[in-house]
């Protein structure tokens, strides 16, 4: 049994707004969400003081104490983004949510930073002081996924796609496979990341975080000759996937069809990307979709602006799609939103396909000669009509993902 899977809802909280209209306006005016984090000055040995925090948002009153008590910021954002997405899909209050036929595939790099620190203090001070009944559930890696489930009374399967930078894309991929094989009818899929100094420190230690502290919006610079590393971003993005027949039967608005998903791993190095397996994952998605590479009209790159990552990704992309494939990365606008980027970029790529316009890679002024030749979209973006797009993401540990979406006509 193989079902067709479609996208029927989007919701997100991002550095550049919380709906497509605001985000689109920001993309079209080349606005960056990157700012200098003054409060990070207290860490002398942290070289990178840049981040792209989520824009302010207000929670509706029904996010009361009991709802919020088990939620770190990452879970609040996961839940609110999912509520916006279910609203968009017209599924709030639909009996399908509590029927056991709706599931969740959702991830993030980790749970809440504050809660994690509470356990850190326990080890340091040899005291349980500061721990509450909810500290663990706020810290655990699947906190976003289960809080979404609790909030909507979901009784289907929960797949925590906690794989750092591929959390969101694996969420969509596993959700797609779950519906395709008939195990669920609707899936709430995506990823989120709350901002803390930790991830920036991780890349700072690896000399892979940008230090353009005096010119925040000029970083990060994916594929650019003068790139000096990534900038960590914050946000959440949820994509609602649905069995095509179910979506049609209820007269849902369909944004796109999920055509293919590929995921594999490098099995080689904990941080260094491997271009052979990166290329292979794109082929896996094409094979799953039953499409030749020539049908893909746009590549949404992972493009984090790290030294090695951009080079490896560009070579892998060229190997599969040739040197005239249009490509851009949204990391210049949003920074690297880690757990959220996979679903955020899938969402925005589908919206761009629907508008026949694709955003440029912000801050890409001069392509690094070490990167493979591709049709890098720069400047004011590109008017482009295509039936199929691919969105690629890569994570530490060598996890690779590729998602192919088809325009819904």
């Amino acid at each position: 049994m193989s079902r067709r899977v479609v996208v029927t809802g989007f919701g997100g909280l991002t550095a550049l707004g919380h709906d497509w209209q605001s985000i689109s306006a920001s993309l079209r005016s080349n606005r960056s969400g990157v700012v200098r984090m003054q409060e990070w000055d207290k860490l002398d040995d942290l070289g990178s003081k840049l981040a792209a925090p989520v824009a302010p948002y207000t929670l509706p009153p029904h996010y009361d104490r009991k709802v919020r008590r088990s939620m770190a910021p990452v879970a609040v954002m996961s839940t609110r983004a999912s509520e916006l997405a279910l609203e968009d899909a017209g599924l709030i209050g639909d009996p399908i949510l509590k029927s056991g036929m709706t599931g969740i595939a959702y991830g993030a790099c980790a749970g809440g930073a504050e809660a994690t620190m509470a356990f850190g203090r326990m080890g340091e001070h040899k005291s349980l002081r500061g721990l509450t009944s909810n500290t663990y559930v706020q810290m655990m890696s699947h906190t976003g996924a289960v809080n979404i489930g609790l909030f909507f009374g979901i009784t289907g399967r929960v797949i925590p796609s906690t794989s750092a930078c591929t959390s969101g894309s694996q969420g969509i991929g596993f959700a797609y496979e779950t519906i395709k094989h008939g195990q669920q009818t609707v899936m709430i899929a995506g990823g989120a990341e709350e901002l803390s100094m930790g991830p920036t420190a991780v890349f700072d230690t690896l000399f892979a975080a940008s230090r353009r502290n005096d010119a925040p919006t000029t970083a990060p610079r994916p594929f650019d000759k003068k790139r000096d590393g990534l900038v960590i971003g914050e946000g959440a993005a949820t994509v609602i996937l649905e069995d095509l027949e179910h979506a049609k039967a209820r007269g849902a608005r369909i944004y796109a069809e999920v055509m293919g998903f590929g995921t594999n791993s490098d099995g080689a190095h904990i941080t260094q990307p491997q271009m052979e397996t990166m290329a292979r994952v794109m082929e896996l998605a094409l094979e799953d979709a039953g499409l030749p590479a020539s049908t893909i009209g746009y590549v949404n790159a992972h493009g984090t602006a790290t030294d090695r990552g951009d080079v490896a990704e560009s070579i892998a992309t060229q190997k599969v799609f040739g040197d005239s494939i249009p490509i851009s990365s949204l990391k210049g606008h949003f920074g690297h939103t880690l757990g959220a980027c996979g679903s955020l970029e899938a969402w925005l790529s589908i919206e761009m396909m629907r508008e026949d316009w694709f955003a440029p890679t912000l801050n890409l002024d001069e392509v690094d000669p070490a990167c493979a030749k591709l049709d890098y979209i720069t400047g004011e973006g590109r008017k482009l009509q295509t039936e199929h797009i691919i969105s690629n993401n890569f994570a530490f540990g060598g996890i690779n993902t590729a998602l192919i979406f088809k325009r819904w006509n």
Partner: protein, 84 residues
């Protein structure tokens, strides 16, 4: 904490910790039915009481607690024992 301050301190704590309406905190108010507190909240209340009193609270002390007044009695009992 002075004995005469116990109720007011408890009230302030419950209001802050559980986002409750101050007017709802009376000695007769039932924790579950009137204040919508559940087992997880009870754990956090015990943790807070330990901080407030400086005494270790055992789950047995809380077994028969149903109302705010019952909690007040537990605190008073704890305070009557010597501090560690």
């Amino acid at each position: 904490m002075r004995p005469q301050d116990v109720f007011q301190t408890l009230k302030d704590t419950l209001v802050e910790q559980f986002d409750l309406e101050p007017a709802k905190i009376t000695p007769e108010a039932r924790l579950a039915e009137d204040l919508d507190l559940d087992s997880i909240d009870a754990v956090d209340m015990i943790i807070k009481l330990q901080e407030m009193t400086g005494r270790k609270v055992s789950p047995e002390d809380f077994k028969s607690v149903r109302t705010v007044g019952d909690v007040q009695q537990v605190i008073e009992k704890l305070l009557s024992t010597p501090a560690p």
